[in-house]
């Protein structure tokens, strides 16, 4: 049971990265390689808020959200908008992510920093498994976020507009939707969420500058397994990777964790090239 919890909470971390990728992907069909780094900054800002400024939790979260949202908005302006093709965006967002890692190292050093969690660090026992409050929170947060985003995209005008835009940009424009503005807003929102995610992830993983690189690929894989553009898919993909990693590390050895995840990825993609929840493109010729 403990192992399942460990796998799920780790999976939730990957899922959060995947969710971040997904929002941008849905809104603008571009890929934000710096998403994981934005979350890393979120974790650091949370640390600074709690430890250096000794702020209350609400203020810390607000600070993390604002800082990361601003960074995210800057990224959209300098790394996404001036570049039209997605191939080059791969390079520019990678560059932006690298800058973030470098800056984080300059400000916070290379040592892992312990990020406090507002609900404490008392171990909980649930159904015979032992788990930290932050791990429970991560799983809950990831699931809640996916549910909330799904709700938003179905129940709010803004959400409807984003989904519409991802289906048919021109038709969306003709309904009066400012496509560019909305894509920018989606970026800013991923920033806000990224800050929040960083605050949630930090207590589990420590705030450390190498966090971004560790998360980037796994988040990407979670997305590929779950299907690009699918929120539930990203969640499921994240959980799947987390569980596979834990069980393989436990019974086969840590040499084989990456390899197993790769095999899982290949298997899923061979059976369903668009991922578990990926929409099969309708051919409307």
């Amino acid at each position: 049971m403990t192992l399942i919890y460990a796998g799920l909470s780790l999976g939730a971390v990957y899922a959060l990265v995947a969710i971040g990728y997904n929002i941008v992907f849905i809104a603008s069909h571009s890929f934000n390689f710096a998403q994981a780094q934005l979350m890393m900054i979120g974790a650091f800002v949370t640390y600074t808020g709690y430890v250096t400024f000794k702020l209350p939790t609400v203020a810390v979260l607000a600070l993390a959200m604002v800082v990361v949202a601003v960074l995210s908005a800057i990224e959209e302006r300098i790394a996404i908008r001036p570049v039209s093709d997605h191939q080059t965006q791969l390079i520019t967002t990678l560059g932006f992510g690298t800058i973030l890692t470098g800056v984080a190292q300059l400000i916070w050093g290379t040592q892992p920093l312990q990020v406090p969690f507002f609900a404490g660090a008392e171990v909980l026992t649930i159904l015979g498994g032992r788990v930290f409050p932050v791990e429970v929170a991560l799983v809950v947060f990831a699931v809640a976020l996916v549910v909330a985003i799904t709700f938003y995209t179905r129940r709010r005008m803004g959400g409807l507009a984003v989904v519409a835009m991802s289906q048919d940009e021109e038709a969306a424009t003709l309904r009066g939707i400012d496509v560019r503005m909305l894509a920018f807003a989606a970026f800013a929102v991923t920033g806000v969420l990224g800050g929040l995610m960083g605050a949630a992830i930090g207590p589990k993983t420590f705030a450390v500058a190498s966090l971004g690189a560790a998360l980037a690929i796994k988040g990407f894989v979670a997305l590929a397994i779950g299907g690009f553009g699918s929120m539930y898919g990203g969640l499921l993909g994240g959980f799947a990777i987390g569980l596979v990693e834990q069980y393989v590390a436990r019974y086969l050895g840590s040499n084989f964790t990456n390899l197993s995840v790769f095999v899982l990825l290949l298997l899923v993609l061979m059976i369903r090239p668009t991922g578990l929840f990926g929409r099969v493109q309708e051919r409307t010729v």
Partner: protein
Amino acid sequence: MLQLWTAVRKVPTWVFPAAIGLFVLVLPLLGPGYELTRQIELTLILALVVSGLNISLGYAGQLAIGQAAMYAAGAYTAGMLSSAGHTDLLLQIVAAGLAALAVGILTGIPGLRLGSWSLAMTSFFLVLLVPDIVDIFEEDTGGHLGLSTMLNPTLFGRSLAPDAMYYVIVIVAIIWFAVFRNVVASRHGIAFQVLKQSPVLASSVGMSVFRTKLTGYAIGAVPAGFGGALLANLDLFVTPEAFTFHMATGALAASILGGSMSVYGAVFGASIIQFNNDQSSNFAEYSLVFFGAFLLIGGVLLRGGVAGLLRTGIRRLDRAAGLWPRRPAGAAGGGEAGGGAADAVDLPPIEGGALEVDAVAKAFGGNRALREVSLRAEPGQVTALIGPNGSGKTTLLNLVCGFYRRDAGRITVAGTAIDGASPHRIARLGVTRTFQTPLIPPGVSVAEVVISGRYTSDEVGFLSAVLRGPKFRRIRRHDLARAEDMLRLVGLAHLFDTEAATLPLGQRRMLEVARALVREPKVLLLDEAASGLDEAEVETLAAVIRRIRDAGCAVILVEHNFGLVLSLADRIVVLARGAVLAEGTPEEIENDVRVRDEYLGIVEPGDAPAVEEAGTLPERTAK
């Protein structure tokens, strides 16, 4: 100044890289010092890796960015061979190339099936696996510590001095880039570009899409393997830390910054990244920020890469010097007027074949796009297919070309049933087509576009493309001559060397006709070939089509321009609501009241979702 440029441009282009290569080769004689030679060594090794990326990413258009894994495969192959006492460098390089090729093929088969981001993902993940795999085979690879048991390399039984590696690296690089250039300039290189532009186009000239993709990916692995072997022997040490994600992104950045779709761009890009690696260590703790900013700014500023900028610059100078657009190379002294009108070229007879469509039906979901359509297009005739939007014309074309599987009925080309054949097989049966939106790969000359239509005629192997033997030359000469004939036929001969994608729409359409025709097809499908043409161009087109018909080809014309159809067609088939409404000579059709009403698109009884959108091609949705 411009005269100087004119003189420079008279020198064949291959001379410049050859001269630079030679210069680099003899550079140590000038005593440049260790640091520079070391930089050149590392740059060239990186350039080998990047050039592989250029093939798969730049030319074949596959988001396969895991070149670092092939690089590692090469390095470890060489390292393990050397440790086992097989110190011959030539052997190691060949083995490393083969090992990389094997990795490329093994990972390419699943990866390429997926395409786009999934491919990017699996290939990036491959890089992540390198340390794990190295670790699992620790006994042979040295694991995390690295492989430090390599012996000094030998060549033809003689031990190599440490300095000699420089020459080996430079020579390997020169040879590879010559090979690379030859492949890219051959029809195989053009084939990659055709594929990148559009899989539909690729299969319509007879290429197997998957095989071509895999070839591109696998060939891209080979130089990375060479690079690995050279790196291992340069340092006599192989560490998994040389093949990290960072290295992979560096190579990707080098490819994009240098210009992915270029041969020598790999060298530019590799120099930039290598010098950056060198410089950034001077920034110590700022090195990450420096590298990141570099990628960001480089990505924004150098769209198309250094090679792209150079190309633009050369084009400008050419234009200023009056060298562009150039005259046809083969038609020296011909003094073509260069006008738009088609020259009176005799089109040799074409052995046409009848296209028979028999009771073909096709439904999308519940909606019947075609129901029991039968028609016959005779060789030596123009059969026009008309009908309102949504009547099933494009669906029929796609069925004939094999992009759709029909639900019922039979289609035969010159008596051969196409059954379930894939598009490229149907193309090889002698069916060619043009597209509503002309599909012309960027960066390819007009002549090469036409030659790409001959992909299946006079097949040329890779090896002979690389070696450029007599057979290759003969076929090449033939290709050029045929291309020139076709271009003269459609009135584009004066644009022989121009970059095709820069032509205006009308000329792009004519170019497509030339490409479709160069293969001497049995059946030629023209999909709205006249749309967007001005009156003069329509006249030229009509004249060309008549000549094609007279040569014996079966021409199928899907067209909205009623006047053109009436003047050109021998028979007209009118489709409406997925069925044949009428069929007959132009006179009969012109006077058919129902046809007129239908053609103006009065109404269709079935209330079905629209399946056809004008101008929509299959690959738009397949992206």
